[in-house]
């Protein structure tokens, strides 16, 4: 009975985590440059079951049969597929069409990565994000030249990427931190990292239909697993009532 309860508990935990990640996706359906995340599951180790109460003469007493003890979340991975671009006609709004990231100075000599290209021009003529952190650029260009756009924007703003995008840690504020030991590559359009579109913003890549369907199935899966806890409870009650 205890094993049934524990199996039910592990899966309720895992399914709860999946629901959390779906809720986060739905909450960020309007967040610029947001990348949806997905929880995947795996089964836990298997327990050898002894045939208790079986006479010694039975050869299958030590059967070596194994029963599993539940499930857990294997990974919560981001899906970095391209989000749709919407036109804003703001000259400081940039969107990446491709797999690269903008670099944002973290103030300590390092950089964060982001896909959110809603920048503003500050008084010093530097592009900054909504929290005032500066965009990494190859060279500064004056604001009046910026609005005319007579230089190629792909040459001014470098793009970055890492080999394993799952090494990126979401910091909030649409920023990603780079885990220690990860190689950072800098490049641009010519290196296949993508093209920068001026006057566009990248929308969240959350597919709301998919998330809502996921929410339904996850909720039902949760409900289903509460059944095994109820069942264990019933079996235990019957055992307790063996002697009336």
């Amino acid at each position: 009975m205890i094993r049934i309860l524990q199996t039910g508990r592990t899966s309720l935990n895992a399914i709860q985590t999946k629901m959390d990640s779906i809720a986060n996706n739905i909450a960020n359906v309007q967040t610029k440059g947001y990348k949806s995340q997905k929880a995947e599951f795996e089964d836990l180790v298997y327990d050898q079951i002894a045939n208790r109460g079986v006479p010694q003469s039975q050869e299958v007493r030590e059967s070596g049969q194994r029963i599993g003890i539940g499930s857990r979340v294997k990974s919560i991975n981001k899906d970095f597929k391209q989000g749709p671009l919407t036109e804003t006609s703001n000259t400081y709004d940039l969107a990446i069409e491709g797999q690269g990231f903008f670099g944002i100075e973290d103030g300590n000599g390092g950089i964060y990565l982001t896909r959110d290209g809603a920048f503003t021009m500050d008084a010093a003529g530097r592009l900054a994000d909504s929290n005032g952190r500066y965009l990494v650029v190859n060279r500064n260009i004056p604001p009046e030249q910026w609005t005319d756009m007579d230089v190629s924007i792909d040459e001014i703003i470098p793009l970055f990427t890492v080999t394993d995008k799952q090494d990126l840690v979401s910091l909030g504020d649409n920023l990603y931190d780079i885990r220690e030991g990860t190689d950072l590559y800098m490049g641009g359009y010519g290196d296949g990292l993508g093209r920068i579109r001026q006057g566009f913003l990248e929308e969240s890549n959350v597919d709301l239909t998919e998330e809502l369907v996921g929410m339904l199935t996850t909720q039902r899966a949760y409900e289903l697993n509460t059944r095994s806890i109820t069942a264990a409870d019933e079996l235990w009650a019957m055992t307790n009532n063996l002697r009336r």
Partner: protein
């Protein structure tokens, strides 16, 4: 009567095991490429029953044979195909048909899995989400430059520089010899392994669990009632014993 108590108890134990297994199946309703298991029960071997009490010279008078309980015979894994869901990610692979991917464990041993949700690590090696390398037919890891790779329906990976790598997809003639390892993987004890042939590899798809919630819930009811029946048997035997002890000998 006392013999019956133990027989009913073995029934309750087996039903409990069956319920454990159903709860394990339900717990993995969302686990990728999970294969449901079934607990098979069988009765104890026959034992000879004889009657001593009524024979004049106290000789054993054989009555016949009786089975005095039930136990678990086998835990069977049902390798039916799970449903394929489209994800459109280049490293989500599903085997449509028979076969398993070959995975290298940290201890150097090989494990087999049908859960093809792979990723590329920072060295460019194709791994499972847990970081274990996926092997090719030469039992080497597969290095790719980018996640956007093309894989054909036989598991041949074409890399950007023109070279190719073939995913090692194997099958087992005696599939029940596979042991579940957890983490969506299997190991093989004594069974043989061959190159899989009857499959189509689908890129951008993932295989779902092959659990049918309806089947499992029906089984749950069946187990619960069967457990209850055994419990009733014990209760009625208890009552009968109570009568034998307290009423038969009353003066």
């Amino acid at each position: 009567m006392i013999r019956g108590l133990y027989t009913a108890a073995t029934g309750m134990i087996v039903q409990e095991r069956k319920m454990e297994n159903v709860s394990q199946n339900l717990a993995n309703v969302e686990t990728g490429a999970f294969k449901r298991q079934e607990v098979l029960a069988r009765s104890y071997d026959n034992v000879n029953i004889s009657n001593k009490a009524n024979s004049p010279d106290n000789r054993r008078a054989p009555i016949g044979q009786l089975q005095l309980g039930v136990m678990i015979d086998d835990v069977h894994t049902d390798f039916d195909q799970g449903q394929l869901n489209q994800t459109n990610k280049p490293l989500d692979l599903a085997i449509d048909g028979d076969g398993f991917f070959t995975i290298l464990l940290p201890n150097g041993q090989h494990a087999y899995s049908r859960d093809g949700s792979f990723t590329v690590n920072r060295e460019g090696l194709v791994t499972t989400k847990k970081g274990y390398p996926v092997l090719d037919t030469q039992m080497r890891g597969i290095y790719v430059d980018t996640e956007d790779i093309a894989i054909d329906e036989r598991g041949l990976i074409r890399l950007a520089d023109g070279s190719t790598a073939q995913l090692n997809i194997v099958d087992f003639p005696e599939i029940q010899t596979l042991d579940k390892l957890g983490e969506n993987m299997y190991t093989v004890g004594v069974g043989q392994l061959v190159q899989a042939d009857e499959f189509i590899l689908r890129q951008g798809f993932l295989e779902q669990s092959n659990i049918n919630p309806l089947d499992e819930l029906v089984k749950m009811i069946e187990i619960s009632r069967s457990f209850e029946s055994n419990q009733r048997v014990i209760q009625s035997l208890d009552e009968t014993l109570g009568k034998a002890v307290n009423e038969v000998g009353r003066l």
